[in-house]
């Protein structure tokens, strides 16, 4: 009994020490959380003070009476009206009669973003193009400055994604934003220039 416990103890010691030596060279393995296993505590909040006596002062200027800035203390009520009903109607398209979808119930989001897929590459660009396509006329007419800025931003992002970031080469995610279409016309390579129209 004792011998088994001792071997177990040594095993533990050995694993920890090996891990401490070279952690990154291990074979990729199934772990609970990779970040957790690799991240080390570099700062435990302790400042070494070998020659100081007494208690550390609070982080403030001496004799300054201004309290340390920190977020206000808040009590979260688990059973307030919103918290108690959190998540209600998330399954309404399955459990209801099928006429309502949770995407329609996102009343806290701006109207043009309700139900718009939010997690994908080049999200900002696609979002802005969507905004532009919806409000182009209004923008031009009533807030030309913002229209200009939007144009600038779209142009910048377009350059960014087409030239600088090369991550759009890859499988396109089906975001449900576009109809499927061939989008191709054969170009006759024997033409003198692409501008020549052949009829």
């Amino acid at each position: 009994m004792a011998s088994t416990s001792i071997t177990r103890f040594t095993a533990i010691i050995r694993t920890t020490s090996v891990r401490g030596l070279h952690d990154r060279s291990s074979v990729p393995r199934v772990v609970d959380d990779r970040e957790k296993s690799t991240a080390k505590y570099t700062d435990a909040g302790y400042t070494f003070r070998y020659h100081q006596q007494g208690v550390d002062p609070l982080p403030r200027i001496p004799d300054c009476k201004v309290p340390v800035a920190r977020p206000a203390y808040k009590v979260r009520d688990q059973w307030s009206d919103e918290a108690a009903r959190f998540g209600q109607n998330d399954y309404i398209d399955l459990l209801g009669d099928g006429s309502v979808h949770p995407a329609q119930l996102q009343y806290h989001t701006p109207t043009w973003l309700r139900g718009f897929p939010g997690q994908h590459k080049a999200n900002e660009l696609i979002k802005l193009i969507h905004y532009r396509n919806l409000y182009d006329a209004k923008l031009k007419q009533n807030s030309p400055k913002r229209w200009h800025e939007l144009r600038k931003r779209i142009k910048y992002l377009m350059m960014q994604h087409n030239y600088n970031k090369q991550d759009e080469i890859g499988r396109e995610r089906n975001l449900g934003l576009w109809e499927e279409e061939p989008d191709y016309t054969y170009k006759d390579k024997s033409r003198r220039s692409f501008r020549d129209e052949i009829h």
Partner: protein, 158 residues
């Protein structure tokens, strides 16, 4: 570099070499080489110059014509006269990168009646996985309500 596949039934319909102008590509606008995001809808566009030159078969393989097949034909030998008219298959790496340049429309298997390529849409004796990471068949058509053994018996397409 290439694996040659004889697509013999296809080159029958080929135009006579004389009719083809042997001019190279002239002044294709620069954006066709670079732009992948479409301004209007904000999505990737299929690479047009790939679609001009390559064809994707339903089994995920790409084929292209033999480069230089119309050049100096009179100088070349009999075997070359014949084999230069075959289509060639791309390598695996090339197929993968061409797939990446396409939109989902072009990656979808399509069925046309009287398709001259119909014999080449299936490939047998391949060991690579039948499904991709999402469980969709890579090389074969998805059958409706058919189990695997029945589908093997009737279709023999994988």
């Amino acid at each position: 570099m290439f694996s040659k596949t004889a697509l013999t039934s296809l080159f029958v319909t080929r135009q006579a070499p004389i009719n083809i102008c042997n001019r190279g590509i002239a002044n294709i606008p620069a954006h066709e080489y670079h732009i992948r995001f479409d301004q209007r809808v904000g999505r990737k566009r299929p690479a047009q110059d790939v679609l001009d030159r390559f064809k994707r078969l339903n089994n995920g393989m790409w084929i292209h014509a033999h480069p230089g097949r119309h050049k100096l034909r009179y100088m070349k030998d009999e075997t070359w006269q014949k084999t230069s008219l075959y289509y060639e298959t791309c390598t695996k790496e090339q197929c993968e990168i061409l797939d990446k340049l396409m939109t989902p429309y072009w990656l979808r298997p399509k069925h046309y009646p009287n398709d001259p390529y119909s014999q080449y849409h299936v490939r047998h004796n391949i060991n690579s996985p039948r499904v991709d990471d999402r469980g969709n068949f890579v090389r074969e058509r998805k059958k409706v309500l058919l189990d695997d053994s029945t589908s093997q018996r009737f279709f023999n397409d994988c």
